[in-house]
């Protein structure tokens, strides 16, 4: 048997796309799990309204914060899940030894989680409109941008921390414990920006919050990209 010529090693982008396709395919094939995360986020939104009682004024005022808390809680589940899939049968080793660039693994996981959370945010928004009686005061495009930037900001550090905690003991406690304090700036600015979109922005503050969110993204996508190989290689 003659060995065919070995194909050229794939580049960073090709590997990222291949891994991302695989992750999305897994999400699609296990959409029951995906549905569970969506229902979890919806239940969170519902619980906030119970915690506050039937005061719709108060709910409407705080809607931005509850919306982002629901996404944050769901992100812990989706991030943990995306690395649980890899630890079953040591799949991450299989990918590493393929070989796939470790940075491609970071990018694919972070982009995958961003897509998932953005979709989740878009899905639960109408429910929030119904539950809390909010309406968009400025523009839906602003809201979409905030949602995307906020989910990007949760996903980059979240991917690094999920990779770490999936290999440690007590992984379910560890991920939120590490992630929550870290994403406070992102959460703050996303919440503020969302509130401005929902309640009007008379003083034109939206831009500065979006700037903060973008800066946060730039820093953590960069640092994550550089640090991630050290975390998953022995």
């Amino acid at each position: 048997m003659s060995t065919p010529p070995r194909p050229r090693p794939v580049g960073l982008i090709t590997a990222t796309v291949a891994l991302l396709r695989k992750d999305l395919l897994i999400e699609w094939r296990t959409r029951a799990r995906l549905n569970a995360i969506i229902f979890f986020a919806l239940a969170t939104l519902l619980m906030f309204s119970f915690a506050l009682g039937p005061d719709t004024k108060l709910l409407e005022k705080n809607a931005g914060g509850y919306y982002w808390l629901a996404i944050l809680f769901a992100s812990v589940l989706s991030l943990g899940e995306s690395f649980r899939v890899e630890s079953e049968n040591a799949c991450l080793d299989g990918v590493r030894l393929a070989p796939a660039d470790a940075r491609a693994i970071f990018l694919s996981k972070a982009v995958g989680n961003t897509l998932l959370l953005t979709a989740l945010g878009a899905l639960i928004f109408p429910v929030m409109v119904a539950l809390y009686g909010v309406h968009i005061a400025t523009s839906a495009a602003d809201l979409g941008l905030i949602l995307l930037l906020g989910c990007l900001a949760l996903s980059a550090p979240g991917t690094v921390y999920a990779a770490i905690s999936s290999n440690a003991r007590a992984r379910d406690v560890l991920l939120p414990l590490l992630l929550f304090p870290l994403v406070i700036p992102a959460l703050l600015s996303a919440t503020k920006a969302t509130t401005l979109v929902l309640q009007g922005d008379p003083m034109n503050q939206l831009g500065s919050w979006l700037g903060l969110l973008s800066g946060f993204n730039l820093i953590y996508w960069g640092v994550g990209f550089v640090l991630f190989p050290r975390i998953i290689e022995d």
Binding site: P9, L19, R21, R29, C91, D93, G94, A98, P99
Partner: protein, 218 residues
């Protein structure tokens, strides 16, 4: 390209520790090019650790591993492209089908028309009928077949087989022997760790017996 006369595998005083335990201790060995190696030893003797070191899944605590003349730490990516590992863990995604599992790997390797390559390999390991079923429903033997297909996808220069006969029925063992013989005929160097010494001896020219992480006379 590896130097023509370089040994397939050279271990220079290699040690690997897990916490306070040496899994491999000061192992020095050279496998001549074109020969295949049988690794024997009891459970916990360091066979799996050694294979993982050669596969660059682990890096040695001390010493140097050279695969086809390349350093396994400094030149890790090149070594990874030449080496394939069949390990205890199958590296298979439970939620994907057999075909999808192989296609993912083919894409990562940059193989043109990945799906054709994947289905060709499924035929070769006799899993065509189950190519569209998710791995979650597979028996241990079918997983082993799929894992070997994963290894063949790489057309490795050095194949590391950790207990390839484990969990296989007699027919499966026979098929696996055939696949290993085919690999060797295609120019692949095989390193085989197994408890089935008879099968191993018939497939390999060299033998290394490990005990407590070091080489001893069998």
């Amino acid at each position: 390209m590896p130097a023509p006369s370089a040994p397939a595998l050279a271990l220079h005083d290699v040690s690997k520790r897990y916490g306070r335990r040496w899994a491999v201790a000061r192992l020095t060995y050279a496998l001549p090019a074109g020969r295949s190696l049988l690794l024997t030893g009891h459970n916990g003797s360091g066979k799996t650790t050694l294979l993982r070191l050669v596969a660059t899944a682990l890096s040695p605590t001390a010493g140097r591993v050279e695969v086809l003349g390349r350093d396994a730490v400094a030149d890790r990516d090149a070594v990874r492209r030449d080496v394939a590992l069949l390990s205890h863990a199958s590296f298979l995604y439970e939620d994907l089908t057999a075909l999808q599992n192989l296609t993912v790997l083919a894409r990562l390797l940059g193989i043109p028309s990945p799906e054709d390559a994947a289905s060709a390999l499924l035929t070769r390991v006799g899993l065509t009928r189950r190519s569209d079923s998710p791995v979650r429903g597979f028996s241990a033997g079918m997983r082993k077949r799929l894992a070997i297909a994963r290894l063949l996808m790489k057309t490795p220069a050095l194949a590391l087989l950790d207990e390839p006969f484990g969990e296989l029925d007699p027919q499966g063992i026979h098929d696996m022997e055939g696949i290993i013989a085919e690999l060797k005929a295609g120019g692949t160097t095989v390193i085989l760790a197994t408890h089935l010494i008879e099968q191993g001896m018939s497939l390999c020219e060299e033998r290394l017996h490990l005990q407590d992480g070091r080489a001893v006379a069998a």
